[in-house]
């Protein structure tokens, strides 16, 4: 008997294609949407609960979930199909019939403290000029939304966040900086994000977080993972120093 599911999610159809001999990608659609993200999150959960022989890991993205495996183990595993691709695809297609209870499955909400403006937000003026909003309004709007982590990509620990208020949309800088410090909070077009490492970049930097987004010494090196929710909380310079342990 199947346990009663109060809020079931049914996995819609997906297309499977080969990324490499050791990975297939499941494509759930072509747009950025909360519905697709939820489908991907849930299917990822189902797969981790019911892995096949040789399964290694997954990479969730906006509209895809990529599944990595050991081809040699899959090849000799007792799975339906002849080629490695067939064996993995057939298995994954069968997992579609699994149902998952959404009420039990939610990402974490993580609060990221941010000191906005000043030396830490050198582009707040430029964003203000472009959006015709005061600095205070920008900070208020940026910190009053709950953002969704759609995926981690680009550099270790970098979150692709969805949900920024359109009023903050500002194009990238004409001249990218050679180094944007780790922890810099920025805006690029309709996106907002936080730099996890010192990297070159063209985002409009509006603030800085003392939070460490990436640390290889942590058990989970990336602070955020796909499916989490993020809230930015404005802090004072004193709080910033305190959080940094100064």
């Amino acid at each position: 008997m199947e346990a009663e599911i109060s809020n079931p999610l049914i996995i819609k159809n997906f297309e499977i294609y080969s990324l490499s001999e050791q990975a297939v990608t499941l494509s759930f659609g072509k747009e950025i949407s909360e519905v697709l993200a939820q489908q991907i999150r849930c299917f990822n959960h189902i797969l981790h609960q019911n892995p096949f022989k040789g399964f290694k890991t997954t990479v969730p993205a906006y509209a895809t979930l990529t599944v990595f495996f050991d081809p040699i183990i899959v090849f000799s595993a007792d799975l339906e199909g002849i080629s490695i691709f067939e064996k993995v695809s057939t298995f994954l297609n069968k997992l579609k019939t699994f149902k998952i209870d959404l009420s039990n499955y939610k990402g974490e909400t993580i609060t990221i403290p941010v000191y906005y403006g000043g030396d830490f937000g050198p582009d707040l003026d430029e964003v203000s000029l472009h959006t015709k909003l005061s600095k205070e309004e920008i900070i208020k709007i940026h910190s009053s939304v709950t953002y969704k982590v759609y995926m981690i990509g680009f550099v270790p620990g970098f979150p692709y966040l969805g949900g920024m208020d359109n009023r903050l949309t500002t194009p990238r800088k004409t001249h990218p900086r050679a180094i944007v410090p780790a922890g810099a909070v920025g805006i690029a077009g309709e996106q907002t994000g936080v730099y996890p490492l010192d990297t070159p970049g063209g985002w409009q930097i509006i603030g800085q977080t003392p939070a460490i987004l990436f640390d290889a010494k942590r058990e989970q090196p990336s602070l955020l993972k796909a499916g989490d929710e993020v809230v930015f909380k404005p802090i004072t310079l004193k709080e910033f120093d305190h959080l940094l342990g100064k």
């Binding site: 993205a61 990529t66 081809p71 995926m151 990509g153």
Partner: protein
Amino acid sequence: MLSSIQDLGRMDYLDQAIPVSGAMDQLSARIANKAVGNSDSDAVIEFTYAAAEFKAETEILIAYAGDGATLSVNGEKLQAERPIFIPSETVIKLVNNPDGARTYLAVAGGWNVPEVLGSNSTYLTAGFGGYGGRTLKAGDHLKSFLNLSESSSIILRELKGDKIKYLSWNIPKALLLPQDRKTIRVFPAKEFTWFDSQSIIGFLSDSFSIGLNSNRMGYHLEGNKINRVEKDELLSTAVFPGTIQVTGSGNLVLLMADCQTTGGYPRIAQVASVDLPLCAQLKPGNSIRFSEISKEEAEFLYIEREKELARLTLAINSRF
């Protein structure tokens, strides 16, 4: 000159955007390890080109493979792809080999560096793994693990003495590779049909040269531009070493070991895994061509290569 500690890479943190990393030419790295009786995944040194010199402070059992350099002692070349006993205080020099770019040095027991996130591989961009998360430089001291495998111990016992000594056999990498090392086999990637037919024909028949701006993350390929017909934007999605992307200006980028885990450029093709070791040996200015195979064929080649490598391991283990 870039030398770093690598192994076969890390797969478990791709979802946190930590690249696979690992040896660019995994075939050479594995052969060097096998030759000293190590496990394939033991840490090796990846030398890019030559211009390095190191001293064995104690006696060691080493092996090297790859085409970027030959190792020599007092002007005398050391034989590649086989175990070599090196007495203490020997100075070994790398001499440039015009054939390729990368050379792998294995030591019996493996190089002793702390494991970071399940691997010994150095990831330079984020500065972790391998030897303090950085490239090797003059003055560094590297140690090997002291507990040797049974095969390593037997090989060492057989060669141990007061001078450089080899075993008579080697693991010939050339036998595992196609004759033509400048034709790279690829299978069509998801966005293969996003380009006009002229461009696709060109991609599969023209030659492309490796750009100067090429490194462990990827190679820029210079050649005819690829014209896109599909105007859809691709949402960022997973990529993997061997993925060939087409940039906004129609240029090709071949992703290599330290590539990002996701990308938003359309992908025209994927290099067959068995040919990635060929790509790893390419240098700026080298000219290559792509030839199309099916993904089933790529799978088949992968399995065949692994079978051959497994047979080699068996042969070594049964001998020692």
